[in-house]
Symmetry: C2
Subunit: 343 residues, 2 copies
Amino acid sequence: MGRAARPTVYTVADRAQVSVATVSRALAAPEKVSEATRLRVLEAIDALGYVPHGAARSLAADAHRAHGLVLPELVGPYYSDLLLGYEREAATGGDAVVLALAGGDDLAAKVLRIAGSVDGIVVMGASALPRAALAAIRELVPVLGLTGGAGQGLEVIGTRNLDSSRELTQHLVEHGRNRLVFVGDPDLAEDIQARYRGFCEALQPHAPEPVRVEPSEAAGVEVAERLLAGELDADGLVCANDELALGVIVTLTARGCDVPGDVAVVGWDDVMAARYVQPSLTTVRQPVADLGATAARRLREHIAAFRAGQLPPGPAPDRLMTSVIYRRSCGCTSDPSKEQEHR
Amino acid sequence: MGRAARPTVYTVADRAQVSVATVSRALAAPEKVSEATRLRVLEAIDALGYVPHGAARSLAADAHRAHGLVLPELVGPYYSDLLLGYEREAATGGDAVVLALAGGDDLAAKVLRIAGSVDGIVVMGASALPRAALAAIRELVPVLGLTGGAGQGLEVIGTRNLDSSRELTQHLVEHGRNRLVFVGDPDLAEDIQARYRGFCEALQPHAPEPVRVEPSEAAGVEVAERLLAGELDADGLVCANDELALGVIVTLTARGCDVPGDVAVVGWDDVMAARYVQPSLTTVRQPVADLGATAARRLREHIAAFRAGQLPPGPAPDRLMTSVIYRRSCGCTSDPSKEQEHR
DNA sequence: CTGTTAGCGCATTCAA
DNA sequence: TTGAATGCGCTAACAG
């Protein structure tokens, strides 16, 4: 014996003594239905436990009412906020979020897979997409880059990495550091690249080559060891993210090296641990939830334009403002109470 | 001038000189199509940039090939791993993930919204769902609880909070703590409840009432202040999660209270900061990615059974094993090298 | 304000 | 191995 058949518009229409069109209207445009009938319909819907079939609706309305969100398979606290911001804004606009996490060459496949089920896609880590695949997808739905993707010709939603990096670096310079080194591989992501560029600009006319490592704690530990071994010379490390910086700091301090006395260390993201490590980490905070919301909002605009027929959807949003959180690891905050503000 | 019309099975069929049925087969059951025609079809698909329309496919096949994943609007590092594990497993099974973040009373609405577009739903924080809404949804698709939801009659995928809590508490007892207090509100979530139960069991025959606060850093700070003010008496705090524990630790140590000397503090989740705080935090690590994967896998089973006609899908998976990570805050790890293992 | 009707794009019978 | 035809559940004209 199977379950009761799923109620459909017809089932509801029957019970409410109306036509299916009226049921549809009662849901989509209540004002186009008389009070009385609308109530009857709603009663029927409630009584039958009717839930519209999403696919049928999408097919008929020629709109999925869903956004694709493609993120790299990285972990980190960063994501929770990003998702929160994105999902909220998407939901506000009536859109669901189809999430795809991609780690390698399955990226293209996954994106194609969801491309058939969403009205538009936001991709973080778009650089890993084969040009051909991206082109095919963009034929179908608008695609936005998150944090990067300019290299793929995408409009990108991101933060002001250049500015924050310049500020951070300049700050270190002004406080007497003159053997600064950037830790992180600019080729790994566009935002890291921008951070390195800002670093270079602040160090005009010549900045040293970056230490090309992955943005992880483990890599930070390695870098610290190289420093301790004398393979690397620096009195200040501008790290591509906090994980890296944290790895550096614990290793350095554990081995008796004074941070920030001997070496200043700064990072990006303001992860929770940045406030707990000793010394606390000077870092760049990004409006991550806002970043997500902005991307969702902007994608909605793109979708509208795309459907309306290819017109470009007005000016792209500015890159989001970031703020440097000065703590102890840069050696410049003498006032601990000031630090507390940023807890 | 509009964009080129989206290619459909018909477009592809035309170009490949076959019928739409063959196109469909070439994609869904390649072995049922001759080598030659299949190649022609694939060529056409490639040339036209054809991507199947997800909604049309779902409607015709009567399967969305998508999971709904509903999470509370909390933030935290926890989620990245959970999503990673879930998405991977879902993708492996060919299913997309529709993510919904719910913060309040919009929960029911959101769940209903996605219920029409997925084959099954995993809900974390199901207790916030009105019974009626849940019942209606379960009529439509199978629903699983993540971390909780037993109270709503859901099968739940979770970890062994009871065991880990008992172990943690017993450990503190064995090392001489005899004024232990549980920090966190058992009524806020089933897992916190289980943690409190384990705490109580270890403290047979009578355990003190819990300090009912939200599981946040701020609340931890408050609790620490109460302790310092003498409003609370304890030589050990079993905190419902790491945020709480961290808030307690920094506040206590900043005010000259010795952790773990005067008060031992332990938590749950093993967030990154747990390793960086001074003293490092003894905590419970949960296999979060595995938790996600297990939920996805199990939901798939439920979906299959549900469609096959209401049969119960075999034994539910065991609650996942957790591991206590002994660090310094419990005052029991004398060997720092041992601690390093868990970095 | 309401009902009738024609697809949306695809999978899947059933014949051939 | 292939094609023709039907319908999934819904929305959106179009009539009334």
